[in-house]
Amino acid sequence: MERILEVDNLKISFRTQLGKITPVDGVSFGLSKGETLGIVGESGCGKTITAFSIIKLLPKNAFLGDKTKISFRGRDISTLSKEELQKIRGKSISMVFQEPMTSLNPLYTIGWQISEVYRLHEGLDEDDAMKRSIEMLRLVGIPEPQKRVKEFPHQLSGGMRQRVMIAMALACSPELLIADEPTTALDVTIQAQVLELMNELKSKFDTATIIITHDLGVIAEMCDRVVVMYAGQIVESGGVFDIFDKPVHPYTKGLISSIPKIDVAKKDQKKLNVINGYVPHPSNFPEGCRFRPRCPVAFEKCLQQPPVVQIERQHSVRCWLFEGGDVL
């Protein structure tokens, strides 16, 4: 399979008033054509900035580590000029953002906003761009697209707007789609529709997709492979079935058992399982294993950096509990 994206040893640091902080450290993953990768973790564990770093949308005070290498279709992103980057953004790599309510400019009709992508990347004139936009809206399942293109974002519901965002992102049939919590702000029923739509379009365009979410349900629905992040590191990664059926890292286990289920009215379980505590702030990561302070099974060794151990062919974990396995 054709390798689209390769992120190697991603380290993102910020210069701040508190000194240098490094919220993402040593994250590596790759993506092939048509494949869907899920990045999951609690809020504040570095998922979003990992995604932003792929298209170099990090804030100005951010910088990448020396050994970090991000290559898109074999080209190192860091060597690209500003103009080359602008050509890639929106055309080869595009993003869907979390908040459909605020991701569209309130002053322009949605038709204008979608056709901006066409005018920018395909040099179409206004009429042609508008025609293509109508086509795209029809594709994402918006009824009466000819009428809808003339409407302003505030006239659409949240689900509609997220469809518009998806239409914008897929307008130029990108090779890589990054969806940052695409369904978090939507109702459950709308969530299902949007996910279904994304699945459909993904197979239609054969787009490689990265889905960032803290919703394990979305991951189960959409992804081929999953990366579980905690405090800026990958703690476990594997195929979607590996992660759901046989999670090994205490954090992954905790995440999965803290999903509320309707049918769990078991007598022995009165309370929902939770992982106690919070994700530590990047200026204050604990020594050794970063999950140690919250880990139910932590032991002495956890005061040192845990190794990344390969458990199965595609399943690896960063934990001292599996020390015996093949260290990566």
Binding site: L57, R89, M95, N105, P106, L107, L120, K150
Partner: protein, 310 residues
């Protein structure tokens, strides 16, 4: 009440409820502006005032310097002097017309220039942030800390007083407020997701500023421009009062008021020439008021989310 009445009422409601087909932002703005009665009124009054001051003098033979010595302190409606005359026999109507030209010009020009400079500085400062922002905003602080009047007095002594100097001074010392306002707004717009997503679409910085940031600041800019215009008209009056503004015999609404101050307690002859203050005062009042009406309407019309009832 008859069925017929209800039917008509329903038709009426139906008529009102029929969706308006709006194809572009410009059309939306115009539709909403038209329905904003007060703003429309403001626009009409301002156009009226502008015509009055620009074209009015063409219809009278008296100049603003001409004195009618047989009519000093004549009350309004004296023959040949509908607004009366002042202590030197100047015709008040004619002076209000000529004075309006100057006041409106000073107000409009300095409002436009301060708004342009302020917006530009605010956009750069807010959008680029960092060192650009720090330098520009420190410069704004410095400008704000300089007391305007000593500099003004010096400048008038050096360059003499005149319309252009007044506009210069009002703009040099007037743009900081707008720039701070715009900067603050741009700081928050810069972080919005639609700007983020425009970036992720590969839109250039220049285009983001022009097409995505600027239009979102315009409602605020317009309101502050209208306030600036009122402020400039009033500031010109106070400058004239200090003898630094428009110098007699050239009239402006401000210096007409200032000269009338001498007679506010009545003349030596015992009359109270109220017309000397009321007419220029009235014109300042309706101009400033209607500029604000107009600005209010424009702001509402420019915001697509704002749709008022009925």
């Amino acid at each position: 009440m008859s069925k017929f009445f209800y039917k008509r009422k329903l038709d009426e409601i139906e008529e009102k409820a029929r969706p308006v087909h709006i194809n572009s932002y410009k059309q939306l703005v115009w539709t909403k502006f038209k329905s904003h009665k007060l703003a429309l009124f403001g626009a009409v009054v301002l156009i009226g005032v502008a015509f009055f001051t620009l074209l009015g003098p063409l219809f009278v033979e008296v100049g603003y310097e001409d004195m009618d010595f047989s009519n000093l302190f004549s009350p309004p409606l004296t023959e040949g002097h509908p607004f009366g005359t002042d202590e030197l026999g100047h015709d008040v109507l004619v002076r209000v017309m000529y004075g309006g030209r100057i006041s409106l010009f000073v107000g409009f020009a300095s409002a436009v220039i301060t708004t342009l400079i302020g917006t530009l500085v605010g956009l750069f400062s807010g959008f680029y942030g960092g060192i650009v922002d720090r330098l520009l905003m420190r410069f704004v602080d410095v400008m704000l800390s300089i007391p305007m009047f000593p500099i003004l007095i010096t400048l008038t002594l050096v360059f003499g007083s005149g319309i252009m100097n007044i506009i210069l001074v009002l703009t040099v010392f007037g743009w900081m407020g707008v720039s701070r306002l715009v900067r603050g707004l741009v700081l928050s717009i810069r972080e919005t997701e639609y700007v983020m997503s425009a970036r992720a679409m590969g839109v250039r910085n220049g285009r983001i500023i022009l097409r995505h940031v600027l239009p979102n600041v315009i409602p605020i800019i317009i309101v502050s421009a209208t306030l600036n215009m009122s402020y400039a008209i009033l500031a010109e009056s106070s400058l004239s009062y200090l003898g630094l503004g428009i110098q007699p015999p050239m009239p402006s609404w401000g210096n007409m008021l200032q000269r009338a101050m001498n007679y506010i307690l009545g003349t030596t002859a015992g009359t109270n020439p109220w017309w000397l203050t009321v007419f220029p005062g009235f014109f300042i009042f309706i101009t400033v008021l209607n500029v604000n009406f107009l600005g209010d309407g424009l702001r509402d019309a420019l915001d697509p989310k704002f749709v008022s009832e009925s």
